[in-house]
């Protein structure tokens, strides 16, 4: 973390464990993993398929709970929160960007972006203002009344990012955000994430791409559910 102003700690996981069980096999996804991430950091998580990247991201995003270990988010231990409490914490603090965009086909661009605001109970007039603001910022305002299937992949991912940031989350979790995009669109998306990070949003990104990882401050490399190496980008 050299070269950066030391910020307050946002995430601290200690000895985190996660197993997947089927009738015959037990797979260890995370094996006593410990990581710390500071507020304002841009961290890339890399590793081969099955190393536990996505599992880690899901736990960090409070979509899943660990089987053992501790997860402190903004000084709150959340490892054993109920689903309801996690959902509550999540919607106010965390935005998600997926490889396959995950927009709702039946909703327009505007409505997709508006969705998180509806669930956090923002008033209608305020929602319009904020959605327009963020669409403007993502340069897809002209597409506001289109449906996802009418957009290119790059545009869809911009909408997805707009949706992730509209609630002004402190943390954005991105799961291979450029995986379904060509290199030009991919670069655009990475620029957007970098901008967001520069404005103060913490970003944790799972990626296979060394190129994308270079946008981050730090790369955490996982193998078999354990952190095997950290590269600090200069």
């Amino acid at each position: 973390m050299a070269g950066m102003i030391q910020e307050a700690q946002m995430i601290k996981i200690t000895n985190l464990e996660k197993f997947y069980r089927t009738e015959e096999v037990e797979t260890i996804a995370l094996n006593k993993l410990s990581i710390e991430i500071a507020t304002g950091e841009f961290v890339a998580i890399m590793g081969p398929s099955g190393c536990g990247k996505s599992t880690l991201l899901n736990i960090l995003g409070m979509l899943d709970d660990p089987d053992a270990g501790s997860y402190v988010f903004n000084d709150i231990e959340v490892a054993h929160f109920t689903e309801r409490k996690r959902a509550d914490l999540r919607k106010h603090n965390i935005g998600f960007v997926f490889q396959s965009f995950n927009l709702i086909d039946e909703l327009t661009v505007f409505e997709n972006v508006e969705l998180p605001l509806i669930y956090t109970g923002v008033a209608s007039a305020e929602r319009v203002k904020r959605v327009e603001e963020v669409l403007d910022k993502m340069q897809i305002m002209h597409r506001r009344n289109h449906y996802p299937q009418q957009l290119s992949g790059g545009q869809q991912q911009r909408v997805a990012i707009a949706r992730a940031v509209v609630n002004k989350p402190k943390l954005i979790l991105a799961d291979e955000p450029t995986g379904n995009l060509d290199s030009s669109n991919g670069n655009d998306v990475m620029e957007l994430l970098t901008d967001l990070n520069e404005q103060g949003t913490t970003i944790i990104m799972v990626t296979h791409s060394e190129h994308d990882a270079r946008y981050s401050h730090r790369i955490i490399r996982l193998l078999d559910g354990q952190s095997v190496m950290e590269n600090i980008m200069v």
Partner: protein, 786 residues
């Protein structure tokens, strides 16, 4: 948020048109069927509940032992009414009623109309409002008459009927003292006019005081705060304490039970129409449930499509509760559309349904309560249909659905399979019941009647027919209209009279045996086409003593214990002695489902109401009727010529069963249709979900028929399980139902096999369309997309 839900629900409806269509069609048909049944039930339970005094109104019943059994009946002695009113403190008012059938004449208009004789209290005790006239005084004088607005219209057109004069049976003039609002269709009463009881007394020259002649209905209004129990306690002994009868009680049957609880067994109420009402209620519920099941199954079947949306919504902050709300909202929206369609279906089908059920049901569009009930009905349907899918869909974990590892369960027993089994179980039960009800009806219809009903016609004796009977009879034959004529006490299809007052040599005096009594003036056997077993028919021309001759049916001979019935002397209360001259083979006059009861046919020294005549087979029916009309018109010119065919009248005996059978077939058909609609949709989703498997199998060499079998057999298995569950249920239900009939079929195995096969074939046809379609798809398509 609600707006967002509605928006997405609406777009989902439009996007998945076939899903929406199947669901809306199924729900609309289900809701319309349930609504029709509910209208019918509402009409049934509302019978005579509009009387202001309904909680205090009773009908007097007798209860006594005959043939070792306790019987209840609602005809009472004429004298009972006056006695109740004068001597019993719990009684506020009493009115009698008995049917009247007069020819009305106004100017040159002649109308034959049914009505009632009644005491003046009739109009104040019951709530039949008068449009004109005073209900307290309208029936006070012997020559007053109260008519309904319809009769007023028929007799006087648009003129005011009040004070106008009508002539009755060409004998007496009556002045209209009241015009009644048309009777509602939910009343047991059926009359077009009320004539004062005093007129009956005038024509009979006395108000009969005989406690042994039960001939009229006695309606009682209890004083306020007098309970049914205390009233019954007061009146129980009334017959015994006012006559020399040693047994028999009287009890009061309350207005709340007239319609639905009027079947008695061994002196106790055992139900009545309420059983049908309950049965229909259950059917309505099941049909609606079956339609809801379609929605549940199709919604959960396409869960893989909705799962991603659930995942995304959860990720961006949706709680489970709001997702449940969203999905429920969707099903309620669908129910709302289906409800609107259902209302249209009901409106269109109501006239047909009315014909089928013999009712005049209508949709009360102007009634706020009706719309409120509609709304509740729609909400309820939406919630029933949507609750399971809502909980199911909202429970998806975002991690698995967004990662794409989500796969809908395909366990051995899934709720979806259970629901399909439930649907088909109900459908098969209905099919089996329909077949059995039809068989039972056919069985009774095929029963040997004992007389020849073809070409047998009867005319009621009104006006001058009685007086001119001899001429009419001879001219009916001489004109070639009829080959034979007989005068009888009642139509051949109806029992109007019975009596336990007969006495004969060797009778066990401790026993009360009830006989159907029937009268004839002669030519009875020939006209009706009966079979004489011993002796001969009544023939007063050849045997003058036949005026007091009597015929017995086989059943009567048996209960009387005669070895040689011919020549036996039989007395009937009074001193008149009848002698038996013949024995006839049993014939059906009452229910075709019951054994023929003992019957006595008395000779010419009796009373008569009907002329029966056998039409001449040498002529066409139209020609015969034309000639007969000429004869009747000649001797009874003021009356319109009216006739009834015995076979039509006999067919009426099957009306109830026919109605039950038609309704059962209708609902069975609808149930199968809705179930198959669901199966069709389900098969489509299943085929879609298994497209990859199908493609792999195809590439490996599976034929289209292999694949069709593979896809169809799971569904057929469900139908087979349904059949196994349905059969014993249907068997039990029909076994109980058949106990209502002494003359009944045995339930046969083929009925079950036929119902099972029929359902299998229909289900197979439904499913195989989708299966074949899936099997014919080019495998490259689905493999490449992987």
């Amino acid at each position: 948020m609600i707006k967002n839900f509605i928006k997405i629900a609406w777009r989902n409806l439009l996007r998945h048109k076939s899903f929406s269509l199947i669901n809306i069609a199924g729900l609309a048909i289900g809701m319309a069927s349930a609504a029709l049944i509910l209208f019918w039930i509402q009409n049934e339970v509302s019978y005579d509940q509009f009387h202001t005094n309904k909680s205090r109104l009773y009908l007097a019943y007798n209860r006594a032992v005959f043939d070792g059994k306790l019987w209840c009946w609602s005809t009472t002695p004429k004298v009972m009414a006056k006695t109740l009113k004068q001597e019993y403190p719990g009684v506020e008012d009493v009115t009698r009623s008995t049917s009247a059938n007069f020819l009305f004449t106004v100017g040159d208009k002649h109308l034959n109309v049914p009505g009632y004789f009644s005491d003046p209290g009739f109009l104040t005790m019951f709530s039949f409002p008068l449009l004109k006239g005073n209900s307290k005084t309208a029936l006070n004088t012997v020559s007053s008459i109260v008519i309904t607005e319809q009769l007023s219209k028929k007799l006087f057109g648009n003129d005011d009927a009040m004070g106008k004069v009508v002539r009755i049976d060409s004998v007496d003039n009556f002045t209209v003292t009241g015009v009644l609002k048309a009777l509602p269709n939910n009343t047991r009463f059926n009359f077009e006019y009320l004539i004062p009881w005093s007129y009956l007394i005038k024509t009979e020259h006395e108000d009969e005081k005989n406690w042994g002649n039960n001939s009229v209905q006695t309606w009682v209004l209890a004083k306020p705060n007098v309970s049914e129990a205390s009233l019954n306690k007061q009146v129980q002994n009334i017959t015994r304490s006012h006559s020399d009868q040693k047994d028999g009680d009287v009890f009061m049957h309350p207005a709340s039970k007239w319609r639905l609880y009027s079947e008695f067994e061994n002196g106790k109420i055992v139900g009545g129409r309420i059983n049908t009402v309950k049965l229909f209620g259950v059917i309505a519920m099941f049909i609606l449930l079956i339609a809801c099941i379609n929605f549940m199954n199709l919604s959960t079947a396409r869960s893989e499509r909705r799962a991603r949306e659930v995942g995304i919504r959860k990720v961006v902050g949706a709680q489970k509760g709001s997702l449940i709300g969203q999905f429920l909202g969707e099903s309620i929206l669908l129910a709302l559309i289906a409800g609107t369609v259902a209302l249209i279906i009901v409106q269109i089908s109501l006239s047909g349904f009315n014909q089928l059920t013999d009712k005049q049901l209508f949709i009360p569009f102007g009634n706020v309560g009706f719309w409120l009930i509609c709304l509740i009905f729609i909400l309820l349907t939406g919630v029933i249909a949507g609750s399971y899918p809502a909980f199911y869909l909202s429970s998806f974990k975002p991690v698995s659905v967004l990662k794409g590892t989500f796969k809908a369960a395909n366990a051995l027993v899934t709720p979806r399979k259970l629901l399909v089994v439930l649907q088909f179980t109900f459908a098969i039960v209905l099919i089996i019941c329909t077949i059995i009800v039809r068989n039972q009806m056919q069985y009774a219809q095929d029963r040997e009647l004992g007389y020849k009903k073809d070409n047998l016609v009867y005319t009621m004796m009104m006006g001058s027919i009685e007086k001119n009977y001899k001429m009419i009879r001879s001219e009916l034959i001489s004109s070639g209209a009829a080959t034979s004529v007989t005068k009888t006490s009642s139509p051949i299809t109806q029992r109007w009279s019975d009596s336990w007052g007969y006495d004969w040599k060797g009778k066990d005096q401790s026993q009360k045996i009830d006989f159907i009594t029937y009268n004839t003036d002669g030519d009875f056997v020939k006209t009706m086409g009966l079979k004489v077993i011993a002796g001969r028919d009544v023939d007063v021309n050849a045997y003058p003593t036949d005026s007091t001759a009597m015929l017995l049916n086989e059943a009567a001979v048996k209960v009387m214990g005669f070895n040689n019935p011919i020549g036996q002397i039989i007395k009937n209360g009074d001193s008149r002695a009848w002698h038996v001259i013949g024995v006839i083979k049993n014939f059906i006059i009452e229910s075709p489902y019951e054994p023929v009861r003992p019957m006595i046919v008395q000779g010419p020294k009796s009373w008569f109401n009907v002329v029966h005549y056998k039409l001449n087979p040498a002529n066409t029916t139209a020609e015969n009727l034309k000639r007969a009309e000429g004869v009747f018109k000649k001797y009874n010119s003021e009356y319109p010529y009216e006739y009834h065919f015995a076979d039509d009248e006999y067919a009426r005996k099957f009306n109830d069963e026919k109605r039950t059978s038609t309704l059962a077939s209708l609902f069975a058909g609808l149930t199968i249709f809705i179930s198959c609609l669901g199966l069709f949709g389900l098969a489509a989703y299943m085929a879609q979900n298994r497209q990859k498997e199908i493609s792999v199998r195809k590439v490996l060499g599976a034929s289209v028929s292999n694949l069709t079998t593979l896809l169809s057999k799971d569904f057929l298995m469900l139908v087979l399980i349904s059949f196994l569950i349905a059969s014993p249920i249907a068997w039990y239900g029909m076994h109980v139902w058949l106990q209502n009939y002494t003359y009944r079929i045995h339930i046969q195995v083929w009925v079950f096999i036929a119902a099972g096969l029929l359902t299998m074939i229909i289900a197979l046809a439904t499913v195989s369309f989708q299966s074949i379609k899936a099997a014919l798809t080019n495998p490259i398509k689905s493999l490449r997309s992987e």
